[in-house]
């Protein structure tokens, strides 16, 4: 009998075209699907053109404009700057010339790639999805192995339907118990990152399990797997269950009829074998997790919103002391102050981590009947144009606008600020995004990561605030 395998091992084995070294640590891995965007793909297409190579099975691929476009409430096809316009134009030409389906800026399905592909049913359990964006790990919520690749590997994937892949070490993260009210999937993953560190899962693929994970919605699992890359994981998986199958059922691009039945039967087997071996096993207790906020410039510099800004002097290792001190200097924060005393200038709800319909519902529930504090500029950028439509059908747009939020069009927007949605130097933002790096939301901008409901609470209070204390 063959030894018990992890879910990760099964997916890699099922996509291995060839072993490239003796022990099988490096393989040629078949890629079922990829999503392309305008900013990481241009040089890959130029490489193909220069070498006169074709795209292998272009029907595997989807192009989406998301990173550089504006999000002004009235949509046009004008880009905020000439560089972005050039990228979008070249992207359009590449998709046309190589026969790749494209959701351009005015397309009714346009949106952030990691929101768009799943909502159409393009991401299915058991797939390998490699794409030119680090948050491709999102697809693990469906039991698909998603991982980010650079532009050279995009070129490789376009030309050969494969990537040269080094096997990761499987790591198990088990979350058990009931999440307290007001605590979300975002808080779970932020708690994990702060515990194991920004490189805690480097070289690993995480398999999430436990009753807390089973109780999460599919969208919550997407948030979880999306942000797992911020602790270094280059793959994050949840075994597909009835919730995933119900979510996919009837989506426009999901299989239909007898094909659907065959697919579901095969997906039922997508789980780790009993006794499968992991290099590491982390256990989190759901009851102990509180709403999280970051205080520093790395996603692992985070704490419960009820905590205080840490004192770098308390760090034992000199290197960690230096990094923490530098982070506080950049963030303009004093050690020892309660996190709830930190005042904000901006509030942003958006990104592939937290701008799906459930996220907007969560935030709107906090904002209903409340208004944004004076002096705070707040905006919502829905994860996709479909999410925007759905929210409007539910009247969420009216709640956001009544509260004083701008209701914008879809895109990556101020998650990475490659368009005209940027923080001014020194501005402080409560943000539902995934990276609080120096300058991420604009040169000199200061980002505090948190859940969408927590962003709403911060917007209302004008400072970081525990959403649970607002009451309902």
């Amino acid at each position: 009998m063959s030894p018990p395998r992890t879910l990760y091992d099964k997916l890699v084995d099922d996509h291995t075209v060839a072993r490239l070294d003796e022990d099988g640590a490096t393989v040629l891995l078949y890629v079922d699907r990829s999503v392309l965007n305008e900013y990481t793909s241009p040089q890959a297409f130029t490489g193909l053109r220069d070498a006169e190579r074709k795209v292998w099975r272009p029907e595997r691929l989807l192009g989406v404009v998301d990173h550089v476009n504006g999000t002004a409430p009235v949509r046009t096809d004008r880009m905020p700057d000439a560089g972005g316009a050039g990228q979008v134009a070249y992207f359009g030409r590449n998709c046309r010339d190589f026969g790749i389906e494209l959701f351009d800026i005015l397309h009714p399905n346009q949106g952030i790639e990691h929101v768009v592909a799943p909502e159409l049913g393009l991401i299915l359990p058991g797939m390998v999805v490699a794409a030119g964006d680090s948050h491709t790990t999102t697809y693990g919520a469906f039991g698909a192995l998603g991982f980010g690749i650079g532009t050279s590997d995009i070129e490789h994937m376009l030309a050969t339907a494969t990537v040269v892949y080094r096997r990761l070490k499987p790591m198990k993260v088990e979350v058990t118990g009931r999440l307290p009210v007001g605590v979300t999937a975002k808080d779970v993953v932020m708690a994990l990152i702060s515990r194991i560190g920004a490189d805690g899962a480097t070289g690993c693929a995480i398999e999430f399990c436990g009753d807390t994970i089973e109780a999460l919605s599919v969208e919550g699992r997407m948030t979880l797997c999306n942000m797992a890359v911020e602790c270094g994981a280059r793959g994050a998986l949840v075994a597909p269950d009835d919730k995933v199958i119900a979510y996919l059922s009837g989506l426009p691009r999901a299989p239909k009829g007898a094909m659907w039945d065959a697919a579901v039967a095969s997906w039922r087997g997508l789980k780790a074998d009993p006794g499968a071996v992991y290099v590491r096993h982390e256990v989190l207790r759901a009851e102990e997790i509180e709403p999280m906020v970051t205080w520093g410039t790395s996603p692992d510099q985070a704490a419960s919103v009820l905590g205080r800004i840490p004192d770098p002097a308390a760090e034992a290792a000199p290197s960690r002391r230096r990094d923490a001190a530098r982070a506080l200097e950049y963030m303009g924060l004093e050690p020892g102050a309660p996190l709830e005393s930190v005042r904000i200038d901006r509030a942003f709800i958006g990104s592939c981590t937290n701008a799906r319909i459930e996220d907007l519902r969560d935030a709107a529930a906090v904002l209903r009947g409340r208004t944004v504090a004076a002096g705070v500029r707040a905006m919502v950028v829905p994860g996709s144009t479909s999410v925007r439509r759905q929210a409007e059908a539910e009247g969420l747009d009216l709640i956001f606008q009544a509260a004083g939020f701008e209701w914008r069009q879809s895109g990556c927007s101020m998650c990475l600020a490659m368009n005209d949605d940027v923080l001014a130097p020194g501005e402080r933002c409560a943000s539902s995004t995934n990276r609080n790096f120096e300058g991420r939301q604009g040169a000199g901008g200061r980002t505090h990561l948190m859940s969408p409901a927590m962003v709403a609470a911060a917007a209302v209070c004008g400072r970081l605030a525990d959403v649970r204390r607002l009451g309902s």
Binding site: A51, G150, T151, S152, T162, G232
Partner: protein, 201 residues
């Protein structure tokens, strides 16, 4: 891709943890459709102040590190965005190898695809190298991929590397060409794979 065999030159210490690709290549340099002009962007906000003048406190602006070929880095170097622009920028700046305790996965692969050698060493050895290359007198290293060694003023360190990665770097291989040579194998796999999972076809 330029092969990597044996390179000799100045090494600079960058000990901070988690230097992310937004810091290595800020967003204003990501708007091109080619790879040009990224040397200017590499570490831009660390190298230049708001007025565009070089910051003297940044190591790569100091006279003894002007010709830097190697970076000795803190843990988790290159985390964050997948942007390969970060690696293109480092290469255009003249960097040929990175030496550190750990690198983010995507950056690690991007380095290999561009002839940039990323070497992982245990923390105590990286500490020793950081101390060594922080002094102008001892900041030169020789990195030899054939013998898998780093030579400095205070000794020689061996390093491990995947055999397939070593082979590609030593020979400056075009990875796409190598894979396309196996096109029949890929095709056969694909046919069988789509037969097993017909809903993917």
């Amino acid at each position: 891709m330029e092969p990597f065999k044996r390179v000799e030159g100045v090494a600079a210490p960058l000990p901070a943890a988690n230097i992310d690709t937004d810091v290595i290549m800020p967003k204003q340099f990501l708007k091109g459709i080619d790879r040009a002009g990224l040397a200017q962007g590499a570490f831009h906000d660390l190298r230049f102040d708001e007025a565009g003048a070089p910051r003297q406190d940044f190591i790569l602006n100091q006279a003894a590190w002007r010709e830097t070929r190697f970076l000795v880095t803190g843990p988790n170097f290159g985390c964050g965005s997948s942007r390969e622009h970060a690696v293109w920028g480092l290469s255009q700046l003249g960097i040929r190898a990175l030496i550190g305790t750990s690198f983010a996965g995507i950056l690690f692969d991007n380095c290999a695809r561009n002839g940039l050698l990323a070497i992982t060493l245990p923390p105590e050895e990286v500490e020793a190298l950081l101390a060594l290359v922080s002094q102008p007198k001892t900041n030169r290293l020789t990195v030899d991929l054939e013998t898998q060694t780093i030579e400095g003023a205070a000794g020689v360190w061996g390093f491990e590397i995947d055999p397939s990665r070593r082979h590609a770097l030593l020979n400056g291989l075009d990875a796409v060409g190598v894979a396309l040579a196996r096109a029949d194998e890929i095709k056969a796999f694909e046919t069988a794979h789509l037969k097993r999972h017909p809903w993917l076809a």
